[in-house]
Amino acid sequence: MASCSKKPIHMETEIKIYSKNGLKYLFILLMGSILLSCNGGKLEHQNYFSSSADKYANIKIFGEEQAVLTSPPLVPPPVGNRPAKKLYMEMEIIEKEAEMADGVSYLYWTFGGTVPGSFVRTRVGDLVEFKIKNHPDNKLPHNIDLHAVTGQGGGAEASFVAPGQEKTFSFKVINPGLYVYHCATAPVGMHIANGMYGLILVEPEGGLPPVDKEFYVMQGDFYTDGKFGQPGLQPFNMQKAIDENPDYVVFNGSVNGLNGENALAANTGESIRIFFGNGGPNLASSFHVIGEIFDKVYVEGGSQINANVQTTLVPAGGAAILEFVADVPSNLVLVDHSIFRAFNKGALGVLAVSGEENPQVFAGEIMEGIYLPEGSVIQNMPKSELEIEAPTDLSKADRIEAGKKLYMQACFACHQSNGEGVPNAFPPLAQSDYLNADVNRSIDALLYGLSGEIEVNGKKYNSIMPAQQLSNEEVANVLTYVYNSWNNNGNLVSPEMVKNRRK
């Protein structure tokens, strides 16, 4: 029995060997035909990689110059059709405390004193001599890894520099595109999380097509011991960084990076190009501009151009070039459309477009009516009865101060930082007759929301303001701030007044 059962197995093996040999011959034949067509293959190979090292590494250099580096949101002048040159550039690494949000500061590590770091603009074929200086007061060694650099570590090892030292290294930029640079010293994640990133642009021959305005915007996530908005100097929190759970997601280094006096500005009809990068360290960005459509997107900062894009995904350590024409006057709002980051973590910026209305593009509101679904429109969550507020006795000045911070977190997205609101959508709080007429009505608006038609300064508004989940103390502070700003009547709102309005 045993010998019988073995035989067929042996047979099978032999058959397999034959078929394997057959395959071998086929393989040799195929190899032969590939070898025969080898010359053609090489050509194809060259064409396929045409826009890479082979072509650009041999670009001749004509002359030299000191490169201009700029702080965000500015970018250096375009390269135009200048030839490739030898460029000298210097960047200083500075560890410094700066504002993360109103009342919140953070110890940033920076390239050039800003987050993101200075913008570097080159042309393909440029030979760059890059000097990196680590300020003597800094505590840590740093370096730079430029994604535009072909070579060991993107320059990381060649640029590794101790505090109080400087290093110079050199590279040729051979791939056009928009690239991220960052610090790559251990622990890499921490160096990036503290703000060590920026963008380097490599323009193609002849430069990018000219536009009217160019801006430099970069997103980053930050991890602090205190929660969003908790005042004081907030240290870096390593555990939250490892858990990828940021307290702040911001543009240009802070909550106010592109707001208030830092808002970008343009005029109607201007063509606008945004060099947008994402430093991370962890989150990918769903970058979107509320009220615009990107006419063109250089996808991932490379050579492929997509058209008519609403939201573009930019990975951590990646970038994109966005172009559009500001057609109508409005406040365009830049957001990470992973939207809680925009309204709760700071990923919100403003590009103010001023100029003539263009009713052909945007006619505004053309009709209004009343829509009454069943049930109540405004819903709120009842506050817990058990919640007890510690009695506090703040001065008017303190209330204004505290209220301002709250306003910049909770109110300014609609009512704007200068209280002027948004025409036809959100009523103004500045010099507002509606506001000044009745303080209890204002308190109610915060506690219970406000809907239906109202008239403010002679203009009608019909939209919905949701109830705010704020404590009596917070309502008192933010209203006192509003009443004492922008030529309003200077009312002092106390927590008791708010308490009395709660039903």
Partner: protein
């Protein structure tokens, strides 16, 4: 006669400098380095370590006795242009710095200082071994609060202006290993196998991107990573505001010297 001079030479510096620098015995043991030359355990022999970092005042004594280490005399190959940067002359520095840790000293200078006292710089392993102790534990590396405090101190600027001995000591009785200045070690470049800071190979790469996978000990490794990165960025003639030193001595040699003195 020669023997007498030799013995005197050994004893004198000890009796002079010993006054302002008390040494603390550290009982050696086996430990796993956080990151470095090997993943294996390392044996650390018993040794003595200065209880405090060397202060500006103590360093002033040293340069008074050793002209070649004065700011105006020092050879550039032993210390770069920033040597004793805060000093305004050979024997003069801002009064407020007297009890702060001396900084802007090169490895050569630090080692010479220690040698003049019959000591040497601690090795990386000795330093790390002593520095893993908290106020009440010899190895507190798994204590997340201890690690957090170290990480936070690395972010705090200008800690080199603090006075030595104002923080609390660790369980060995050693002060200021953390939270004040980085400190020179005898073999500060040891994790670079070739002993060359500009080397492109091997372990150096672990300090940049794509460094090895970090596991459960992230926090403790991150603090160590920063120290090792710092060390490997240095050259022996570097002088940094954030870098000072303290001295060490073998327990062995100590016993030998006691024998001679007797």
């Amino acid at each position: 006669m020669k023997a007498v001079i030799l013995i005197l030479a050994l004893i004198l510096p000890l009796s002079i400098h010993g006054q302002h620098q008390e040494m603390v015995p550290v009982t050696g043991g086996v430990y796993t380095p956080l990151y470095g030359t090997s993943k294996e355990q390392v044996q650390v022999a018993d040794f003595f370590l200065d209880a405090f970092p060397v202060s500006h005042a103590a360093y002033l004594d040293f340069v008074k006795k050793n002209p070649e280490w004065r700011k105006s005399e020092v050879k550039r190959i032993f210390a770069d242009e920033r040597y004793l940067d805060f000093w305004d002359a050979d024997f003069s520095f801002p009064e407020s710095l007297a009890q702060s840790p001396v900084n802007h000293v090169s490895w050569f200078a630090a080692q010479a200082y220690c040698e003049c006292q019959g000591k040497r710089l601690p090795t990386v392993d000795e330093w790390e071994f002593a520095a893993m102790a908290s106020e009440n534990q010899k190895d507190a590396r798994r204590d997340s609060l201890f690690n957090l405090a170290i990480l936070h101190s690395y972010e705090k600027p200008k800690t080199y202006l603090m006075k030595v001995g104002t923080q609390s000591s660790n369980v060995w009785g050693i002060y200021d290993l953390h939270g004040m200045v980085w400190e020179w070690t005898l073999d500060f470049n040891a994790i670079i196998l070739t002993g060359e800071s500009r080397n492109y190979g091997n372990t150096d790469r672990g300090l940049f991107c794509a460094s090895g996978a970090l596991g459960a000990n992230d926090l403790m490794n991150y603090a160590a990573f920063m120290r090792y990165a710092m060390r490997s960025s240095l050259k022996a003639r570097s002088n940094l505001a954030t870098l000072g030193f303290r001295c060490a001595r073998d327990m062995h040699a100590e016993q030998g010297q006691i024998a001679i003195e007797k």
